[in-house]
């Protein structure tokens, strides 16, 4: 075995599926002098890879997960360690059948073969399943199993053959050396190794290892129970490891997976059993391995009976014995996504953690690309380690959210479903007033944000059918017609919107202008008092963010961005600051209140002596104004298509400003409006794109219809790319579509919620220039148009206004028409309202 070198270009800690795949992909991308460590022996050092059930269902409601999984499957296939078995998700209830239909939508959207089948069709392939227990199933023919240990060995061997890798097993990391915020060395029980780049691929141990450098990887080890029953005669009579499809018994949160002559039964139904990374036993202290903990049979007993119901003969066979039973450890995160990227705390220290077998090789490729040139081909926006706010990194938060999520692993989770744990953490200064107004709070990044106000319920009567009520429980879950009523009232009078969740950071210093100029697409060298809305691109021209920048002084810019993505944006800026410029987070210093609508000007004028006329306070400008004795930074922009302002005031004065505006607005019928209006209805009528929905690193300005009439002279990140893109036809085009008829086969009107595939009128698949199939990126009511509007990227030849297509929702087709094939708003296309001309 190799001895520990004194230095390395990069140290990869961990030899599970992630570390092994990463070592290979780094070598493939040209890295040399890679040193990979593990405290255990090879090829199975004792982590979660060693006991994984190793099957892959490619379907997921998340595009990021689906794409990473598909890439992983390709890599496993290329290595010859993938066996296709097919897989069923069986339903015992009608409610589950509906969820399976919804999964068909996601499968079609991501290009994964899938179909709904009858119990009889299941039994044709799985003869030992009792068809009377189920009402139907989804069939996924490309499901399969992999040999993840063999895959890891192949990956390491390839990197070794390239001469790029040294592997040192049986060496435990005991410390990290950090100098001036940068990693410089890894300390082990076999000596110290100097390195400027270190990747933590330590699975359930990742938090413990990262903590040695002062960084946080907020995952928790959690138990997944699994037993293996055999030998079963019917299984033993077939050759190979797997010859029957894998069955997911969705309603009991269990799976049955053949493994040779044994049947493995795994469960996500038991109570959440969480561990701490620090108390996982060593290899020597373990009965089996550190991640195969003692089976707690009382937690599994209910699943035995349910499994027996589904496969009575096979599992009821007295000669088939429970030969293996473990509480296997795996990694869970508070939001369900992996934790990838350079840690915000320590330069050069990377995380590739909370990754399961089905995502391992794909994730490793993407992280290696990120480490090499900064641009992973598959967007990793949801998995970026920089996404967490400080409270989200606390162990209490991680445990609360993972406990709540565990039983939802196979659950039916509504796309708008809210967490019940870890709430009430970040409260806006006007929170009490909002409670008094009957706010229904949704959570964003820990903030409690009113989604609508019950105090506006009377408006539903006022506007009647224009509120576009939804008949079906699923479509109206986590939704209210009050949102649409608030929208209509805002368009008629004015609305006050709490935007405290904005992330706000200042770029200051003598080099502030140069710094901002380099990062944003828009011209940063504007007069003090100008506000610019701008994309932020990576070097390929993919979206890293879109946000607004106010120039407050010659050497002072204020960046305002969405709460959900705020921390990642902050890191993006901070990582790119030249000498003489620095990023200062002021998120907790300021609250933001939006006031918009035809009466906004009158209302604001009634509480300030400042000139708030269109001429005196033009669109796209900001300035300090006095609202009585409150100092307010007013910025005349809008995300809802109305005349008005974002008003910034110190957090502690926010409640006072809110109350005064509510009071002053009373005679003008001003209402408080929730994020339902701000985030969906107001924005979709205006065709505004949102980061994380329409915009991500896989999309370009041209594809989003956001080409600049003029590209600024100064250099900025992505400039070369967008110049090149401007000369080419886009591969895909972001469009707004309207739903022409909502009537389902049963007569109930259905309203899409997002994620559904767009197909031809007769159901034919569409494919854009990237090989992607169109899906709904945002869906929502456009009450002022009386239409349900969908946004989707379409193949350029289909992106024609008036083109008639269809949306597939719960396995039924609904006719849709392309209403815009660029950023032209469907409502008030001339922007007369924002400009104060309407």
């Amino acid at each position: 075995m190799a001895t520990l070198p004194e230095s390395a270009k990069v140290v990869v800690i961990g030899a599970g599926i992630v570390g092994n795949s990463l070592s290979y992909h780094l070598a493939r991308l040209g890295w040399t002098d890679i040193v990979q460590l593990d405290k255990g022996p090879l090829p199975n050092p004792g982590g979660s890879t060693g006991h994984a059930s190793n099957f892959i269902f490619p379907v997921d409601h998340s595009r990021e997960f689906a794409d990473i999984t598909l890439d992983s499957m390709k890599q496993y296939q290329e290595m010859g360690v993938f066996t296709e078995s097919g897989g069923f998700e069986v339903a015992r209830t009608e409610e589950r059948m509906e969820e399976l239909r919804r999964r068909m939508s996601s499968a079609k959207a991501w290009g994964i073969p899938a179909e709904i089948v009858t119990p009889e069709q299941v039994v044709e392939k799985v003869p030992f399943l009792d068809p009377s227990v189920i009402v139907g199933a989804a069939w996924f023919p490309t499901v399969g199993v992999v040999d993840s240990l063999r895959a890891g060995t192949i990956m390491r061997e390839r990197a070794l053959e390239m001469g790029a890798l040294t592997v040192v097993p049986n060496v435990e990391v005991t410390g990290m050396t950090v100098v001036d915020g940068r990693i410089t060395a890894v300390e082990t029980n076999a000596g110290t190794i100097a390195a400027q780049t270190v990747v933590v691929c330590c699975g359930v141990w990742s938090p413990k290892v990262a903590a040695m450098a002062g960084a946080k990887i907020p995952l928790t080890p959690a138990v997944h129970q699994m037993i293996s029953v055999g030998p079963c005669e019917v299984l033993a009579s077939r050759p190979g490891e797997i010859s029957f499809p894998i069955v997911r018994d969705m309603d009991t949160f269990c799976y049955e997976r053949q493994h040779g002559s044994d049947m493995e039964v795994g469960s996500y139904a038991h109570r959440a059993i969480l561990h701490d990374p620090e108390t996982i036993p060593s290899i020597e202290q373990s009965a089996l391995s550190p991640t195969e903990l003692p089976f707690t049979s009382e937690d599994f007993d209910p699943q035995l009976e349910q499994a027996l119901e589904l496969m009575p003969e096979l599992l009821g066979d007295e000669s088939a014995q429970i030969r293996y039973a473990i509480n296997g450890l795996l990694s869970l995160t508070p939001d369900g996504y992996p934790i990838l990227g350079e840690t915000p705390e320590v330069k050069g220290l990377w995380s590739a953690a909370a990754v399961w077998i089905k995502e391992g090789p794909g994730t490793a490729r993407a992280v290696a690309e990120w480490m090499t040139h900064g641009n992973p081909e598959i967007d990793l926006g949801h998995s970026d380690i920089a996404r967490f706010y400080p409270h989200q990194r606390t162990r209490a938060h991680v445990k609360a959210r993972t406990s709540e999520a565990f039983n939802k692993t196979y659950g039916i989770v509504h796309p708008a479903e809210q967490w019940s744990s870890g709430r009430g953490v970040r409260l806006a200064p006007m929170h009490q007033s909002q409670q008094a107004l009957g706010a229904v709070f949704f959570e964003t990044a820990g903030w409690e944000r009113p989604h609508w106000y019950e105090s506006n319920a009377g408006l539903v009567e006022k506007f009647g059918d224009a509120c576009m009520p939804r008949e079906h429980e699923w479509d109206s879950r986590w939704w209210s017609p009050i949102i649409n009523a608030e929208h209509l009232q805002m368009r008629e009078t004015a609305a006050l919107v709490d935007l405290s969740a904005f992330a706000i950071f200042d770029v200051v210093g003598p080099a502030a202008l140069a710094a901002v100029q380099q990062v944003i697409v828009a011209q940063a060298d504007v007069k003090v008092g100008r506000v610019v809305y701008t994309p932020v691109l990576d070097s390929r021209g993919g979206f890293r963010s879109d946000l607004t920048v106010m120039r407050l002084a010659h050497d002072h810019f204020r960046v305002v961005t969405g709460g959900a993505h705020g921390m990642a944006d902050k890191k993006w800026f901070a990582d790119r600051m030249p000498e003489g410029a620095t990023v200062v987070d002021v998120t907790s210093a300021y609250t933001t209140i939006g006031i918009w609508g035809p009466k906004a000007r009158e209302i604001l004028a009634s509480v300030t002596s400042a000139d708030v006329s269109h001429a005196g306070f033009p669109f796209g400008t900001c300035r300090e104004i006095e609202v009585g004795n409150l100092s307010v930074l007013a910025s005349r922009i809008s995300y809802v298509g109305e005349y008005g302002w974002e008003l910034y005031t110190p957090m502690e004065a926010g409640a006072a400003l809110w109350d005064r505006l509510l009071e002053a607005g009373g005679p003008h019928e001003l209402i408080p409006a929730g994020i339902g209006v701000y985030g969906t209805t107001g924005r979709i009528e205006k065709g505004y794109r949102a980061y994380g929905y329409e915009l991500d690193t896989e999309r370009t300005l041209a594809e989003c219809g956001m080409q600049r009439p003029k590209i600024k002279d100064q250099d900025f990140i992505g400039k070369e790319a967008i110049v090149a893109q401007a000369a080419e036809a886009p591969q895909t085009v972001l469009c707004s579509l309207t739903v022409d008829d909502h009537t389902s086969a049963s007569g109930v009107k259905r309203y899409m919620l997002g994620g559904e595939p767009i197909v031809t009128r007769d159901g034919g698949q569409l494919t854009d220039g990237h090989g992607h199939h169109p899906y709904v990126t945002t869906a929502g009511s456009a009450p002022s148009l009386g239409k349900h509007v969908l946004m989707a990227f379409l193949p350029p030849d289909q992106a024609v206004v008036g083109n008639q297509l269809a949306v597939s929702y719960m396995e039924e087709l609904y006719p849709v028409t392309v209403a815009a094939n660029d950023a032209t708003p469907l409502f008030d296309p001339e922007n007369l309202r924002i400009r104060g001309l309407a």
Partner: protein, 256 residues
Amino acid sequence: MAEVLVCVKRVPQATTEPVITADGLGIDATMTGSTMSPHEECAVELATQIADATQGSATVLTLGGAESVDQLRDALSVGVTAAVHIEADPAAFGPADVARAIAEVVRAKAATGAPYDVVLLGNDAADTGDFQVGVRVAYALDWPVVAGCSTVAVDGSVASCVADGPEGTGVFEVALPVVATVLEGGVEPRYPSLMGRMKAKKVAIETVVPGFTPAGSGRVGLALPPPIPNEVEILGQGASAAPAVVAVLKELGVVR
């Protein structure tokens, strides 16, 4: 129609490096889980074989807290049909106390008119290794005892106990009732079936309380021996290493 009582003890799952509890008196099972000793697994298998062969029945007994019911259920899931739980703090009971408590149960059963014919125990406990409970039970009951048996079979009123010793294999034919302690290796303990596991859940367990105050074990503390150095020997590379691997497997008794 032999009535067999098999006695088991809840012990921590074996590991290379045991973790001693904070009080220094026991082995921490938090991260290893608990089980019965391998000797006792074989005793349970022999008990069910005797019961099956004689159309008799097998009962499992343990002395311990509420958690030790897990080990009773484990035995119930592989063919034992009844269980007795001597509810007591196992740490307070030394081997002499345990033997006394078992003897009490055996006498009480005899008083019902349906006595146990065979009492099986493991040769020694995997955690404390006292090697004496079986002999003490026999002494208390004034029964014959055969220690270190690899198999035990019953034919009519005679038990045939096979024990391997340094001189060879000894076969002891002993008139019932008899106590036998079992060494692992003579029979292959079985794993539970799913049905066995479910049946075991439904069996009512008889709970008894010892009728005396235990004297304790007199143990003052446990200490770990120095760790065994981890030696790695490279047997070879690729296919040419196969004969060396086979030789090691034969040496370990994994293949014959």
